[in-house]
Each structure stands twice: as C-alpha cells, then as structure tokens.
C-alpha cells in the first residue's frame, strides 16, 4: 500500500527508512519510528479487532498503553506474543501482526451475530441463563471460551532468553514526558543515581504529540537535547520500551523492558524481555494522565478516537487518522486537536462542546480559524458500521442540531491521572473537581509530578518535574546546592472543564453506549448492576467485568466513577475507583519466569553414585529435589519382577542401597545431650559413646514430625539422621529452639548431609561383604553389636559405620566422605559379587521396611499422628519434659478411637490393596459409609508370597483380627481384609541381631 493517509510533512518518522510489516498477511508500508498502529492508520486500516463479547468491529482508540481495542498477536510459532498493543509496538521490518478475537476473519465475523442480540445478553447473562441444564455447562463454557479468544499461546518452547535484573538507585523516575525528563535532569544534576523508565520507544511523552515549545525550541527538540544530556551522564540509566507495571512493599518497583529487534527472522518485534527489580530510595511518578472517553450511542465505532491521540498521530507520526473530523468535548484540549487537524489540512466539520460558553484562548482560536463550534451540544450517536460515517448532534435538552458527516470522531471527556503506581504505594487520592477526576494527595512519600498530579499546563508541569526531581534527590541524600532551573514554556489559560457523564434524559437509549470497550460493558450494564443492588464500585466491577480486560480499564474506570456517581446521585469522591492492581500492562510469562525454567526451575540433587546407577540401568524417582534410584530392572524384567528379585536378594543374601539422601546433622557441645533430651521423646544423656538410638521428634502439638537414628560419636558429639524430606525442616526446627528459647544451651548444629554419603549393606551376607572389601573395624558380633557405631576405614577410605537396619536384616550403613563414595560403592560391589550382592532401590527399601512394620514419616503419618497411634508409645519418656509432651495428655490425644497403625491381610493373597483406600467395617447401602481408616502402605511381599498393607484404623489395635473392608479406588468394589499386627516378618527382630 502507498500510505494514502500519510501526511506529506512533519512527524518523527524517518522517511528515508521505509519498512514493511504485515497485518493478517497484507503488506503494510511504514517508516522507522512508526508504531504498528500508526502504520495501519497511514494505510487506512481502521478495523483492527472484534470486541470481546459482541464481536463488534473495533478500531484504534488511543496512541498509548490505555487502548482497549488494539490488542494484536505478534509473530508466529514459538516466538509469537499474544495481547500486545499495536499502539505501543514499534513497527519493524517483517513483523507479522494478526488480529485477535474474530472468526473466521476480521471483516466477516460469525460471532458478530451476538451484536444483533446484544440487548438480550446483559451482564451476568451467561451465569444466570446457561446454568440450566447444569450438566451442559462444560459445553457452554467450551463454546464461550472459544468465542472469547484473546490470542493464542506459542506452539513450541520460546527460544528467546528472559532475564531478571536487580538494581538499586537513588531516584527512579517513571515516565519520560516533560515532567519526567525535567525530574530526571534535576535529580541527575545533584549526582544522584537515576533510572528513567518509559514505556514508549522514544522518550518525550506528550511533547512528541503537540506543537508546544520548551525553552524557546520545539518540544521534541528539547526532549531530544535533554535525553542526550541524560544519556551522557554516567549516573543515569535510560530505559525506553520499559513499563513500570507494579509497585510493591518497600517501594520495590517492577519494570518490564521489552527488547526490540529488527531481525526479520524473529518475526516479532520483541526478542525476549527483562524484568527489572528496582529498589529506589525515592520515586518520582510522572506517569501522565489518560484522556477520558464520552458516552453516546455507538461510541465504539472504528473512527471514534481520543482527541489527544488524534494530535499524536498527526504531529508525531504524520498520519491523518481520518479525512473529515468531528470533535466532541467538555474541555479545551480538543480545540488544540482541532487546530492540529486544520494545520495538517484535515477539515474539522464541527466541535460539539458540552459547555454553554467555551471562551478560552483555544476555543477563540478555533473559531477564528472558521471551525464550526456548537456550544451546549453533545453527540447523540454515531452513524456507520465498520467505520464512523456521521455524528448526530443535539443540544443538552435533546433538540436535534443536525447530522454531520465525518470518518473521524474525536472525543475528550477530560483527563484522569494515571494513579496506578501511586495507589499501589498506598498513596491516598482525593476527588479534584477542577479535573473531575481523582488526583493524588500531596506529601505521601513518592513524588508525583505533571499530569499524574493533576497538572495539565506545560509550564507548570516542567516546574513541578524539576521540583520533584530535586526534592527526591535531596531526600535520597543529594542536596548539594546543585539545583537546576526549570525549563520554561508558555502558560496558557484554559477554561474549566464541565463534567459530562450521562447523556441527559433518554438521549441515545436505543443504541449501546460502551463504558468499557474491551469488556463490552455498556451503560445499561451499569444500570442493571446498580438496580440489582451491586452499588459499590468493586461490586459493579465484579458483576459487569468492568475494567477486567488486559487494558485494566485504564479508560473505562475513570469514566465509570462519574457515571455511577450520577446514576446513584452521589458524589464521585464517595464512589471511588476500583483498586489499581499490578500489572499495569500485560507482562509476558516468559519475562516473569526469567531463567527459572527447565533445569533451573528447581535444582535436581543427585548423589555421587548417580552415574553408576544410570549405567546399571536404574529407573529413577523424584524424592523432593533428589533423584533416587527406584529399582534396577534387568533385561526383560517388569518393575514387579525387579523389586521381587531385589527383595529376596536382601532377605537371602545381600543388597546394597544408596542412602546418601538421608539428612545428617552433627549436634555438638557440652549440652548436646540435654538438647536431644528436649527435642526427642526418649532419653539421650545416658547413651554411651559408640551407641545408636532411634528417636521420635514431635511438634509442640504432640504429633510426629520426624524420626531417625542418632549416634553418640563421642562425649560431646552426636550425629543425627533425619528423613530425606525433612533434612532442612529439622535443622530449622532445632535452630529455632536453640536460638529463641534455649540460648543458654552450649550446642552447635552443622548440616553434614552432603559431606557424608551413606551406603547401606543389608542381608545375612553383608558382614562378609564388608570384610571382603577391606576394613580395619572388627566386625564380630560381640565387637560390633546391633545399634552401635564404629569409626575406621572401608576400602581404604575413612568411614563411620553404623550397625542399624531399616530392613530388619543384618545391616551396616557406611558413611564415607562424598568425594570418595563412588570408590567405596564400587569396592563393595566388587567384593560382594561372589556373594551375589544386588543393588536395590527405593521401592525395595519400602517393601522391606513395610514387611517389618517400620513407619515412614509422611506416609504412615500426616501431621495428626501421635507416637502412641503408631505403636511407639514405649519411646515416650516419663521422666523428662520434651517438645510436644504436654499435648500427649490432651483429651483428644488419648481418645481410644484414634486411628492406630495396624496391618491388613487380604483374603486373596494376590490382591494388593490400593494405597489411600478407605477402610470400612462392612459394605452397605448407606452412603457415605462411616470410615474407619485408610491404607497407608501396600505392597506384594516376595518373601511372604502374599500382599501386605499398613493402615491407620480407628481403635484398630484393640480389635486386631477383625473383619474389615477396603474400597477400591476406581471400580467400586469392596475387598475383604483382616487386621493384624503390623510386623509381618520376623516379629521377634532376630535377624538384625545376628
């Protein structure tokens, strides 16, 4: 296309740098410096999307981040980005832009039939009507979700890289319009470290959109000169294309910096993004204001545009957004637009001004230019389908004033400060009647300047910006008298705004009047909400979805405040505005994730023997962050076969297990024994050096928190084993008590989990393997009995060997320094080969311990289980206090019908019960059946040749041998079982003592 709507002169585009992008496959010619929106308008493309609910045709409304309509899809494939605004996306060569939310095409949208029935689908319609019949809701929902598509996600992993930057500065300036530039300049001049962030590609803000002068030069020139000065300053970081999207506690500000590329192969103008986490000492807010739309019939037609945006397209981009304009306003600013249009040769057919006597400088100038001004007039509704064709004017009393043909209808309802970050900083706001909008109350920590502070005059804005920059720098400790003078500009006098919210009487009732264009919320929807009693603006929001779109209601919310106030006959100050939550603009998930993806999303922990397990063909399972060998299938073996083989090898010969993941904490100091006495249920002070003991740790509520063996290494040194998952929580728990309650105890805690690898040998031949591998420790039964510990060497490596058992067999747990562990492991495997040593994984470990009725914290226990519940009441010392002891005598802890650990044997020995299966007395017709308990562990025991299960059953220990039933999870059957002692194998515990 030849850019028929490109003006011949002016603008900040580079006419020597033409480029081409595509919109829905159509080539669009534009220039470097254009946005996608200005490029589309230059080529006469006005229809850019379909609305969310009614699929009405929609066009570009604004020239910034507030646009409710111009959401597009950028790029394709893995790099595609949904939900980007054409109004802030720089046009780049080869960029592929697609519309969203229309099917099959933008011009012929099947869903626009919704528009014809719009009067029948008011707010809440779906949820009120489509609830019946209820079972059809998923079907309705599927259809509705499809109908309401807002772009699509990438179809492959994003190849771009995203990063997070942590930064500190003295003064963060948000917004690089006149106030922001002046503030950054003033602050930087003091030597303060300044970050200046602006969401647009070019700094300058409103200066790039108007013809005003600063310091006797055109505004854009002053902006360029100031930016050049700031770029050269070593203490200033300039961030264009960067949106400050959220402000959090401690004044943490999150910025999303979009990295723009012109490489066509990226087929999307962004190649990744950075999230800046900035902790400034002071913040200057120069976020500007958003122009408010006005209500009239069909006020959503393409060609209806904010007056200020029209000026931006004309002055900054040299684009004529239409060929004949009508303007509708309640303040002076639209007259400036009228003059801009006239200057550019675009006729202005009428200005409808709500005010009865607009007589400021600008209206007078417009009249002098011969522009027809209609005082006391409003636009009743817009004519036209896919584009405005005419505006029907009438007086405030409803008297027709004629229909004026136009293809561009500029509206200005005044300006509402962009309070988002101010509000997120908990800054209070007040209703400012001269703006008819909320403005920040001054004096609340962060420094607003310019339009966000309610100041719409350029000269005053520049003074305010300079002042705010200097004040912020001084508050950050930079008050060295290096103050700069505020840049100068002409003051003009503006006549006051006349708030205009509702068309008077029944004007334009017949045509929809949109308050929120993105969410298709109409004036009638607001009326309905209030009629149904949802009067708080937060309720109106939830009932109608006002402001819930990706535009966050930047245009809709300030308008809704006034509309609701008038409908309720209340002061707008009392209506308020919906809460401003982050994010201000959509932020891509890739940017939020940053580098925390793939293997960096969560670290994987492996033991020194990991490679050996892999070579041996192990299957792995994740245990927290650990990757542990699960079982070692041989060729042709199923998991069941492999586990059975491993289990029998341990019971009959010898197995070897990598148990390095166990938590290990050294507890040292003169009071270590006393400390253990306080945190464990049993007694420790009299444990002799060289001996081990099993301990239970409770929370103060008396419930089991962790269990494990602790060995007394010497007089003042213990080594505590924790369960794998609880290694960090146990250390934290011990540290907390030591530091907060018992600082008098001389005890020191050191986590040695990763220093010591742990290799478990288990089975009747394990002593022979250890001897064959070579050790200076005397292994005879009387020299090294069960539940003792010896220090020495194994396979030439210094080792701590513990004769403890989690399988019920003769067993040694061999701790060696992690960097020598692989060597010792291989030495043990080599030495054991003639004895048939078998590596086994976590699944076999679980079967072996279940055969012995040993609990696993987190499997048999769930935070509501006492020691007595699992049959370990014998470990509770009566002679001392310990954490949780008092809770064990609370009435609830001694109920006889508490769930207790029992074994379950199925009538059918081949039947393995489902873990988690509910235990009931007997099946019956009454549902739900009273639940007696649940299955906690269930396996097939190869050594017993039958299934076994552990369960927590109410009052179960007193009624061992009773008939119970367990529910299957999927096919609604009841499996008959009998309860039994939970120790299925070697109940006397003889095998571990040999």
């Amino acid at each position: 296309m030849s850019q028929p709507f490109r003006l011949n002169r002016g603008g900040r585009i580079d006419r020597h740098a033409p480029l081409q992008f595509t919109f829905d496959g159509r080539p669009i010619d534009a220039y470097n410096g254009d946005t996608v929106a200005s490029g589309l308008l230059a080529n006469g493309v006005t229809l850019v999307g379909r609305s969310f609910k009614y699929h009405r045709p929609r066009g570009i409304v604004s020239a910034g981040a507030e646009d409710p309509n111009a959401f597009v899809q950028l790029g394709h494939g893995a790099r595609t980005l949904p939900n980007r605004l054409a109004t802030v996306t720089p046009a780049t060569p080869g960029l592929k832009v697609r519309h969203v939310n229309a099917w099959p095409s933008l011009e012929y949208d099947v869903m626009s039939a919704f528009g014809l029935v719009a009067p029948f689908i008011p707010a809440g319609f779906y949820y009120k009507t489509l609830m019946w019949p209820r079972r059809f809701w998923p079907l309705y929902e599927h259809f509705l979700r499809h109908a309401a598509g807002l772009g699509h996600a990438p179809d492959a992993p994003d190849p771009d890289r995203y990063d997070h930057v942590h930064a500190h500065c003295d003064v963060l300036v948000v917004g690089a319009g006149p106030a922001g530039l002046a503030a950054a300049h003033a602050a930087a001049h003091t030597g303060a470290r300044v970050i200046l962030a602006d969401e647009q590609a070019e700094p300058g803000g409103i200066l790039l959109s108007t013809c005003e002068h600063v310091d006797d030069q055109p505004g854009p020139n002053w902006a360029d000169a100031t930016v050049a000065k700031l770029s050269a300053a070593p203490n200033v970081t300039l961030l264009p294309n960067t949106t400050a999207f959220g402000l959090y506690e401690s004044n943490l500000v999150l910025l999303a910096e979009r990295l723009i590329t012109d490489q066509p192969d990226h087929a999307g103008s962004e190649h990744g993004a950075r999230i800046w986490r900035v902790l400034p000492k002071q913040i200057v807010l120069a976020t500007g204001a958003h122009e408010r739309p006005l209500l009239f019939g069909n006020n959503d037609r393409p060609g209806v545009m904010l007056a200020g945006a029209i000026s931006t397209y004309v002055n900054r981009y040299a684009v004529a957004p239409g060929s004949r304009a009508v303007l509708f306003t309640n303040n002076d600013s639209a007259y400036r637009t009228a003059l801009d249009l006239t200057d550019a040769g675009i006729p202005v057919a009428a200005i409808a001004d709500v005010r009865s006597d607009p007589d400021g400088d600008l209206p007078s100038e417009a009249r002098a230019q011969g522009i027809p001004v209609y005082p006391g007039a409003v636009v009743r509704h817009a004519h036209g389908g896919r584009r405005v064709a005419a505006a029907e004017l009438c007086s405030l009393d409803g008297d027709p004033l004629g229909t004026v043909e136009c293809d561009l209808l500029g509206v200005s309802g005044g300006f509402a400060p962009a309070l988002h970050l101010h509000a997120q900083a908990r800054g209070p706001s007040q209703w400012d009647p001269t703006l008819a909008a909320f403005a920040p109350k001054p004096g609340h920590g962060i420094h607003p300047a310019g339009a966000v502070a309610g100041e719409l005059e350029l000269a005053a804005t520049l003074r305010q910006g300079t002042q705010a920059g200097a004040t912020a720098a001084a508050a950050a400790g930079y008050s060295n008298g290096n103050e700069v003078e505020a840049p100068g500009a002409n003051d003009s006098t503006q006549a006051p705004i006349q708030p205009y919210w509702l068309p008077p009487g029944n004007l334009a009732r017949a045509k929809p009047q949109f308050v929120d264009l993105h969410e298709d919320v109409t004036l009638d929807d607001l009326r309905l909400s209030l009629r149904e009693g949802y009067e708080s603006i937060e309720h109106v929001k939830r009932y109608t979805t006002l402001g819930m779109g990706p535009d966050q209601g930047k245009l809709a919310n300030p308008l809704a405040t006034g509309v609701i106030a008038q409908l309720l006959g209340r002061d707008p100050a009392s209506v308020g505005t919906p809460r401003h939550r982050p994010a201000y603009s959509p932020v891509s998930l890739g940017a939020i994730a940053g580098r925390h993806i793939g293997p960096l999303a969560d670290p994987v922990r492996v033991t020194p023997m990991q490679e050996w397990h892999q070579v041996a063909g192990a299957r792995f399972e994740n245990v927290g962050q650990w990757r542990r060998a699960w079982y070692y299938p041989q060729p042709g073996e199923s998991m069941h076969d492999a586990v059975a083989r491993e289990c029998l090898a341990v019971r009959r010969r010898v197995g070897i297990l990598d148990y390095s993941t166990l938590g290990k904490i050294e507890v040292t100091g003169p009071d270590a024994g006393e400390f253990l006495d306080r945190v464990y249920t049993n007694a420790w002070k009299r444990l002799r050096p060289g001996r081990c003991r099993y301990g239970l740790m409770l929370g103060e509520d008396g419930m089991i928190f962790d269990d494990g063996v602790t060995a007394r290494l010497d007089d003042q040194r213990y080594l505590m084993f924790t369960s794998t998952a609880n290694a960090a929580p146990v250390l934290a728990w011990l540290e907390q008590w030591l530091q907060t309650e018992w600082p008098d105890l001389r005890v020191y805690l050191t986590s040695v989990s990763e220093h010591w690898s742990n290799i478990a040998l288990a089975g009747p031949r394990s002593r022979d393997v250890l001897a064959a591998a070579g050790t200076d420790i005397r292994l005879a039964r009387q020299d090294f009995p069960f539940m003792t510990f010896r220090e020495g060497h194994v396979a030439g490596v210094p080792a701590r060997v513990f004769r403890i058992s989690f399988s019920g067999e003769l067993s040694y747990e061999i701790n060696v320094p992690a960097d020598r562990a692989r060597h010792v492991w291989e030495a043990l495997v080599d030495a054991g080969r003639p004895l048939g040593i078998t590596p086994y994984g976590t699944e076999t470990m679980h079967v072996l311990r279940a055969e012995k009725g040993f609990i696993i914290v987190g499997q048999e226990t769930d935070g509501s289980v006492t020691p007595n519940d699992v049959g370990l009441g014998r470990l509770i010392s009566r002679r001392k206090d310990f954490l949780g002891k008092r809770s064990l005598s609370r009435p609830d802890s001694v109920r006889p019908d508490r769930k207790q650990l029992v074994g379950l044997l199925t009538d059918d020995p081949a039947q393995v019960l489902p873990e988690g299966g509910h235990v009931v007395d007997a099946p019956g017709p009454r549902r739900p059946l009273p639940m007696r308990g649940h299955v906690t562990s269930s396996y097939f025991s190869p050594v017993l040749g039958r299934s076994i299960a552990l369960a927590m059953v109410a009052g179960g220990r007193a009624t061992l041998g009773e008939r119970l039933h367990v529910a299957t999870l999927h096919d609604d059957r009841w499996l008959p079982v009998r309860s039994c002692n939970p120790v299925f194998y070697d109940p006397q515990g003889a095998r571990q003592h040999v």
């Binding site: 934290a732 206090d881 008092r886």
Partner: protein, 88 residues
C-alpha cells in the same frame, strides 16, 4: 516485597527469610502444671493484631539467625528489628 533489616546482615529481600509467627510467646517452664486450656492457649492462640506486631523471622538464606521484627500489619511497614538478647 519486604525489605527486612537483619540485625547481623543489614537490609535484605524477604526471599531470604522465613517467617516464624508472633514473638513473645515463651514456652511454659512447666507444661505439666498447665491446664488443658492454658496449654491450648500457648499452642494455638495468636493475636492476629492489626497494626504494630512483634514477630519472629529467620535469615534462612543468610546468617540463619532468628530475630524479632516489628511490623505494621496494616501497612506492611517495618518499624524495626531486634535480637533476642535485646528483647525484654
């Protein structure tokens, strides 16, 4: 984000810390002497105060020391931090 002033390491992001609930709830010296109600009060009851609140924090990813922070629960403003030695 909260900027928490660790008495040993200085101000750090809250990512590095673990919250430990209301401070100044000492463990009873003789739990056996307490009634069930008194023990339950120690165990479960917390003030959930709006406004100034003394609470325990641990610099888990730093010096691993527990200390007391005073925070306004309505504004999340941090009013100060102290060590256990300095607390009453």
């Amino acid at each position: 984000m909260l900027l928490i002033p660790c008495p040993w390491c200085g101000p750090r992001e809250d990512d590095e810390f673990t919250f430990g609930g209301e401070a100044d709830i000492p463990r009873p010296t003789d739990p056996d002497a307490l009634t069930d109600e008194e023990w339950a009060d120690y165990l479960f009851m917390r003030d959930n105060r709006r406004g100034r609140h003394r609470e325990q924090w641990c610099h888990t990813a730093g010096c691993r020391r527990w200390f007391i922070v005073e925070r306004d629960t309505a504004t999340n403003q941090i009013l100060g931090a102290s060590t256990y030695d300095a607390s009453p």
